[in-house]
């Protein structure tokens, strides 16, 4: 049995959408998310004494004080986390650790991912649409990326993960059908999720293999749809968690590891930071890989899932393909994976995309996952991946 000091007691998640009809500033979205997650947990706003956020445009500096003031919260723990797609998983363990050491009692984890209003000639807000940004800030003066990566076209995320996939395929000969199976079975899960962006569209392995090649060997249906959305969690002490209306979900183990920013400088492209993050998390939680009931693994691409299954220790290096072929990854299968559809099926609502893996694990452990509910779900493995397989966070979540 691992740590039982801090528990997730509340969640809220907005439906991912390609277009967002009512633009909101991040602080406005944060206020709405906070209101919803406090209600879900059955808490009072006055009990909140901690904030964890990602950087927001309205206050690039002094973000926590800007947000605490805006929300009217007097806060004992104030944290900005900047770990790309693993930001939400990084937020959760930081909040849990702060609670465990007694720095605070009840912490909001806030992930707004909505477009801000833009002033127009008429002074009316324009509708926003999710877009990729290629350089991700790496073209700043003095940035190594601007000098040594961007001029070669190593930008955005897909080419980096495609490079990893090229090397994996060379060393281990995984078949494209095997990676496609991940997308197909997660899509099956998304078809059972009422707010997944692809809830109405099943796909086949053939669909994946005939979809457009984006960056060899990655095809269109192996990458996520950028969306808007948002989500939040509420964490509190084990003692306070007892009066929550839902089953508390303990953060019983966590680990985080990073080694690089550009994929080129990854010490070994086939040995991801997850290996060390997951080892730490499992050791802390004192549970075995075989005891995990559901896995919620960051899936920016299918290759990310394959490597994470291996490096989190669910099978040996090089056996990820066989593992995927041997197991039914659907919510009603023998190894339920990304039962919300993953971001491949749910949509990637900015940084809230990484939160969706945590939220789904919480809903499953709380027996609130509707028709995709996994029976007797008590223990979840959650993984976050940031940047170019760079920042990786492992969480072991355990129902009380």
């Amino acid at each position: 049995m691992g740590k039982r000091a801090a528990a997730i007691v509340g969640q809220t998640e907005w439906e991912p959408k390609r277009e967002w009809d009512v633009p909101m500033f991040s602080m406005e979205a944060s206020a709405q998310l906070a209101s919803e997650v406090i209600a879900d947990a059955g808490f009072e706003k006055g009990e909140i004494d901690g904030l964890v956020m990602n950087p927001i445009a309205e206050s690039p500096m002094f973000g926590p004080s800007a947000l605490a003031e805006y929300l009217g919260i007097q806060s004992n723990f104030n944290e900005v986390v900047d770990l790309g797609g693993s930001t939400p998983a990084g937020m959760v363990w930081r909040a849990a650790a702060a609670i465990e050491v007694g720095a605070c009692e009840s912490v909001l984890v806030l992930c707004p991912a909505v477009p801000p209003p833009r002033p127009t000639a008429q002074g009316k807000a324009k509708r926003g649409r999710a877009r990729l940004t290629a350089y991700l800030g790496g073209d700043s003066w003095g940035s190594p990326q601007g000098q040594f990566e961007i001029p070669s076209g190593l930008v955005a995320a897909t080419p980096s993960f495609a490079m990893i996939a090229s090397r994996y395929r060379e060393q281990y000969d995984v078949q494209p059908e095997t990676l496609a199976k991940v997308a197909v079975e997660q899509r099956f899960n998304a078809n059972a999720h009422p707010t997944a962006i692809f809830r109405d569209k099943p796909i086949t392995i053939d669909d994946v293999l005939t979809s457009r090649m984006i960056a060899d060997p990655i095809r269109l249906l192996e990458l996520v749809m950028p969306c808007f959305g948002g989500g939040a969690l509420l964490l509190t002490t084990a003692e306070r968690a007892k009066r929550s209306p839902h089953r508390p979900v303990f953060v019983s183990g966590h680990g985080e590891h990073l080694t690089h920013k550009s994929v080129t400088y990854m010490p070994d492209m086939l040995d991801t930071p997850t290996r060390k993050a997951a080892d730490r998390a499992f050791k802390m939680a004192g549970v075995s890989r075989g005891a995990i009931d559901i896995a919620s693994i960051y899936d920016c691409f299918t290759i990310t899932v394959l490597l994470t299954i291996e490096d989190a220790g669910f099978c040996k290096k090089g056996q990820g393909g066989a593992f995927i072929e041997e197991h039914d990854l659907r919510f009603n299968g023998d190894w339920p994976l990304n039962t919300h559809g993953g971001q491949l099926g749910m949509g990637q609502a900015g940084l809230a995309g990484g939160l969706s893996h945590i939220t789904e694990a919480v809903l499953q452990l709380q027996n609130r996952a509707g028709k995709r509910q996994v029976k007797n779900a008590n223990l979840a493995y959650v993984n976050g991946t940031g940047g170019m397989m760079a920042e990786q966070v492992a969480l072991i979540l355990e129902g009380a």
Binding site: Q147, F148, E149, I150, S152, G153, M163, P217
Partner: protein, 136 residues
Amino acid sequence: MAKLASDGRPLPQPTPVTQAFFDAAQDQRLILPHCPREGYFFYPRSHCPCCLKRDWEWKPASGRGTVYAFTVDRMGHDPNLVNWVPYVVAAIELEEGPRMTANIVGCAPEDVRVGMPVEATYENVDDVTIIQFRLV
């Protein structure tokens, strides 16, 4: 903001520490930072990433290496490069050890495989020289 060449592609903007690397490229030479204790590293930076000391020196490299990993960008993830698709983006493992990001040019993208030997080639773009690689 990235500096764009007259043909639209993004160019590196050297800093005082990295200037020598780009100057050498103009003379069709690949040079690498070399630490007396830890050996070669890449990219060039103020302190050796192994020992955080500043006493490294530039040393000439062979310009030879192998393809560690690569992709063929079919859609131009950089909007400034959409006219160049398809192009090969690769991590080259240099003979001296470190890896370097570069394009592989002078062949059909379909001909590239992981592990293939490559050598440096130099392309002048405006007042900058870009180091790329070709199959050997």
